[in-house]
């Protein structure tokens, strides 16, 4: 018997070990591990699709004593996104790194990061989540510093320290919850929190500590200060992983805690604070992206803004009673997170290509890029339109439902934030494109590098076309998870 739930974590882990032990074959072993891991993620998705939420208690002990893994629709959708993006990044990385030291350092750390991501999405235990957060943070900081230049090392050292602070804060929250409720299992804890309204102060304090620590890792304004330099200075495939996946993992955990664990104690006031910060993040991040001088810095600030959108959903989810309207909101949230994952990864990979070919990524000097790198420019345009939220993209539907929910719950002011953010986003994307299409005298020389261009283009295409035109399955995946835990119905 093999369980895709376990394989999603164990395969990249074994891959990381083999790559570490046999550095000479790191690229070949690395790409095999990437394929195997992505395969496990697809198998997991298929299993959740057919059977609903999967739940596994490791070690065969009582649920309290052991660690549980679980995959519901939300987790599975994110695992699938992370693993497809991960596969794209892996293919891209085979051609990106040339220095032997970099190649040998990248693959094991990247596979460890991947294992941590899958582990985090699938974990059902608060302390196990802490370990995953630490693995994620350490591997991410090490990868970000891989270029070895001063700015990258400084930025990622700061990222590491900030991340550690965040996880310590999270751990204190876990300690408080264990003190009061005597369990670390997410499911059991949810029941006990719901059953003990008299412990409101304890639960609220634990929640504040955990959410604050995670908001630091998710770069919620004003705790985003570490993100732009860390993401802009990392090697392109690493930037893609950090911006598209790692930050999202921290947000996912906030959402998980908010919806599953602390639902009974979160009122409108509690949801308003992160949403207000998210709104500022949307405006501030988009504005800074517009003003950025470098392409990768622009993408990093755009991540700050895009994470902000996700926090806007919290008060809407709080105000909407359970039912189809709330399901739509949840699906929209997921759609925006997943779309951003694909789009930002595609954007960063394309930006990396521009950088390696031009020797720089200064936006004002991008003239002629469209002529030299047509496919890459197309990838930037596609992912850019997904970042804006133009029609066929997944984020168009997401934003649409977000605004619909805002109006339905009488919180019309978020509509202004979303519209302004989208306008700013179109401004920064078009700024890049207008420079890239600039009609400067350029030597007409096509550069094609399939290994690098195909992943960038594919990820960008998924964000625009696949997720927008065929977003139905996402609803089914989420619906299935609801049916699995509630009425127990099938397809």
């Amino acid at each position: 018997m093999t369980d895709p739930l376990v394989l999603c974590i164990a395969l990249p882990l074994v891959g990381a070990m083999l790559v570490t032990a046999l550095p000479r074959w790191s690229v070949r072993l690395g790409i095999v591990s990437a394929l195997a891991t992505a395969g496990a993620a697809v198998a997991l998705t298929a299993a959740v699709w057919q059977q609903g939420t999967l739940h596994l208690i490791l070690g065969g002990w009582d649920a309290q004593l052991a660690i549980a893994l679980r995959a519901d629709g939300l987790a599975t959708a994110l695992v699938l996104m992370a693993n497809l993006v991960g596969l794209g990044i892996s293919v891209y990385a085979t051609g990106y790194f040339h220095d032997r030291l970099r190649v040998r350092s990248f693959w094991p750390l990247w596979l460890l990061l991947w294992a941590a991501l899958n582990g985090l999405f699938l974990a059902g235990d608060l302390f196990n989540l802490y370990v995953m957060l630490e693995l994620l943070g350490i591997a991410a900081a090490a990868l970000g510093a891989l270029t070895g230049n001063r700015d990258a090392v400084a930025a990622n050292l700061r990222y590491l320290l900030v991340g550690l602070l965040g996880s310590i804060s999270y751990l204190l929250g876990v300690a408080l919850l264990y003190t009061a409720h005597g369990t670390l299992d997410l499911g059991l804890l949810a029941q006990r929190i719901a059953a003990a309204p008299e412990l409101f102060a304890v639960n609220a304090a634990a929640m504040a500590l955990m959410v604050a620590g995670l908001a630091l890792k998710a770069a919620l304004f004003p705790l985003h200060f570490w993100l732009p330099p860390a993401h802009a200075n990392a090697p392109a495939p690493v930037s893609a992983a950090l911006s598209a996946l790692v930050v999202k993992a921290a947000f996912y955990l906030i959402l998980r805690l908010w919806l599953d664990l602390f639902w009974p104690i979160t009122g409108m006031a509690a949801a308003m604070l992160p949403a207000l910060l998210g709104a500022v993040a949307v405006l501030w991040g988009s504005w800074r992206a517009l003003r950025a001088e470098r392409l990768k810095l622009l993408a990093a600030y755009s991540t700050v803004a895009q994470i902000g959108y996700l926090f806007l959903f919290l008060p809407l989810l709080t105000a909407t009673p359970p039912g189809p309207a709330r399901d739509d909101l949840l699906a929209a949230l997921l759609l925006m997170a997943v779309t951003h994952g694909f789009a930002k990864a595609g954007f960063f990979l394309a930006a990396g290509l521009v950088q390696t070919n031009a020797g720089h990524d200064r936006i004002d000097d991008l003239g002629g890029t469209a002529q030299r790198l047509p496919a890459t420019t197309f990838a930037i345009a596609l992912s850019g339109s997904a970042l804006i939220g133009l029609p066929p993209s997944g984020s168009f539907i997401g934003k649409w439902l977000l605004m619909q929910g805002a109006i339905a719950t009488g919180q019309w002011w978020w509509v202004i934030v979303v519209t302004t953010g989208s306008l700013l986003a179109s401004a920064y994307v078009f700024r890049v494109l207008s420079r890239a299409f600039g009609l400067e005298p350029t030597p007409l020389k096509f550069i094609t590098d399939a290994r690098a261009e195909v992943p960038a283009l594919t990820l960008a295409l998924i964000s625009v076309a696949v997720l927008g035109l065929a977003s139905g399955p996402l609803w089914t995946l989420l619906g299935l998870s609801a049916a699995g835990s509630g009425t127990g119905g099938g397809v």
Partner: protein, 98 residues
């Protein structure tokens, strides 16, 4: 509840706040790292305190195991942060010499 649990756990919370303060106000990397380690030690101390169940009952082994895990994680992070700091220092010296 035991008085010892409250006293020792309270000391852990003091250490948490102390480390947090030092992390926020002190600039040098080594001081920040010491601060983080003390913050972490504070949280570990809370866990060890709640595991203690008096002289008769044996202590709860689960928090003990969590703290053991946490100690190894903390030392790993410390090692990486220190080496990144050393690398940064080298790079800065190189820049200055140029």
């Amino acid at each position: 509840m035991l008085t010892a649990q409250f006293l020792y756990g309270g000391a852990g919370l003091v250490l948490f706040a102390l480390g947090l303060w030092s992390f926020l106000v002190h600039e040098p990397l080594l001081r920040k790292i010491i601060a983080l380690n003390i913050t972490g030690a504070g949280v570990f101390h809370v866990l060890i305190a709640i595991a203690y169940r008096g002289d008769v009952a044996p202590p709860d082994p689960v928090p003990h195991a969590l703290v053991l895990t946490g100690i190894v994680v903390a030392v790993s992070a410390t090692a990486l942060a220190l080496m990144l700091g050393a690398r940064l220092q080298d790079a800065e010296e190189e820049d200055r010499r140029r």
